[in-house]
Symmetry: C2
Subunit: 304 residues, 2 copies
């Protein structure tokens, strides 16, 4: 298997955490350095990394903070305050619990990350098994390097698949990350804008939809990048199966309990310094939405 | 009533047609000059003007070409070849018919345009009557200056309304034109990205949806800017009324007969010189989609 740089976008080398700066892709593949938990929290807030990258960053930050003799409860607090929709609590509570138990922290965390890697590879394998030869898959945002793995597992099983990636405004993770990682792995991918999904599905061009999730609640509702809910509604209308590659469930009962992060207007109105809209006009930017479980054909759980 | 520059974006002064360059809005309000039908056809192809602007441009082009003693049948042919999804035939056949009948061409065309203006104002009035005080209206793309009129008629009737405008990728007519014209008319408007519609509707933030149409067929299907179909599907799911401000019907029986224009990849992948995606990745850009009549709550017809 060849791994996308997005599959494991964070590395700990010596006492420096290297963070793949996803905001610079696809033009530049560069890593920024975090030397302490404050640097790490800033990178999370500024969306330098997302999804699995954030999990890795949180865990490596605890290792680093432990080495630096920081108060881990304070570190956990800072991490939990970065982004409202994401459930870092699962991670921070786990680490604080480990520390309390007196377990060797660094070793335990590294063990957890090894297990996470294995489970994610299994997820890709499970997803690949559900596919048929010539499946055309629509995806939204980016599933942290998992789709190139799914395609490789499918290929191993004699199944050729191809992708449509929504560009995923406003951050364009679909064009900048998903299309990029699929293309460099030699897997056919076509970009569309977010508003083309219904038309594409009406033409019969898509056989399955696969998205990731940033948050899974106990009843199977998920929060994922804004736009996921809309695709699920449209998929239901056109009767196209809708699969979700899930993180571990949080302790929330349902999606209605998830607090949705509202991000600054300007992230929607300005792209790389170019104004896309009149200067003083109002904009609304919820970063995530909640897709109810009834619109999900199948959850691909992370077996942790 | 105060008119948006987009309500009548084309002017004929002397032997020059002035075309409001919609690709430069909202940064610059500038007009480009067309001195003959070739200039005019180029402006249509390059989407310098859209919708009603294109109708006006076609009609003024015939007046100018007649003055320049051009063969109007050739002019009609050039116009019809500019963009596949748009039904300029209704206009070109009307003009060729007028010419054949020996009617005073310039006078007849100017009379038609005066009538068109009156009918469009009536359309805005009809739409306003269907609204309630505090209605929150979601719209897509741009309806050529009609929404500021709708809001003014509503206000006259004691009804305050506000808008959400989808940005409408890839050309951003929603942010660049609709938000701009509403804002300068003092009407509350908030921009969202195209993928936020379902989430917004799930929150109960929208009471009605109003879109325009580039093409109306005999059975009530419409073609409009890509993304319209998706909004109609989502509106159905959330039971939000979906209104369409229509042009005159073409002679096509249904939407399945409309040929959808596929535009160049780069218009989706590059915005004002900035690459939004990896350079050699494939993209798909249908400029319009067809919304079936069964998803339309009410057509607001142009009474011509």
């Amino acid at each position: 298997m060849k791994f996308s740089p997005l599959f494991w976008p964070i590395q700990l080398k010596g006492n420096i955490i290297y963070i793949l700066d996803e905001t610079k892709l696809p033009q530049k593949l560069i890593y920024i350095k975090a030397k302490n938990y404050l640097d790490a929290c800033r990178a999370i807030k500024e969306m330098k990394t997302r999804a699995v990258g954030q999990v890795l960053l949180v865990m490596y930050t605890f290792i680093l903070s432990k080495r630096q003799n920081k108060n881990l409860a304070l570190v956990a607090q800072a991490i939990n305050a970065t982004r409202p929709t994401l459930s870092f609590k699962f991670l921070t509570e786990m680490v604080l619990g480990l520390e309390k138990s007196g377990a060797p922290l660094e070793k335990s965390i590294l063990g957890f990350l090894e297990m996470l890697k294995g489970k994610r590879i299994e997820q890709a394998q499970t997803m690949a098994k559900l596919l048929k030869d010539r499946d055309v898959i629509l995806t939204h945002c980016n599933i942290s390097g998992l789709l190139p793995l799914v395609a490789q597992f499918a290929k191993k099983g004699g199944k050729k698949i191809s992708f449509y990636a929504t560009e995923t405004r406003p951050y364009l993770q679909g064009s900048r990350l998903t299309a990029w990682e699929l293309q460099r792995a030699g897997i056919p991918v076509t970009i569309i804008t977010d508003n083309m999904v219904a038309y594409l599905l009406s033409l019969g061009k898509v056989t399955k939809i696969i998205v990731g999730a940033d948050h899974l609640t106990l009843n199977g509702d998920i929060a994922n990048k804004i736009g996921t809910y809309q695709i699920a509604v449209v998929a239901k209308y056109f009767k196209i199966p809708f699969y979700v590659i899930c993180p571990p469930a949080s302790k929330l009962k349902s999606g209605s309990e998830i607090r949705i992060e509202i991000r600054p207007d300007d992230e929607l109105k300005i792209y790389q310094g170019i104004h896309l809209a009149p200067k003083n006009v109002k904009a609304y930017y919820p970063a995530f939405d909640v897709t109810p479980h009834k619109l999900i054909t199948k959850h691909i759980y992370l077996g942790v």
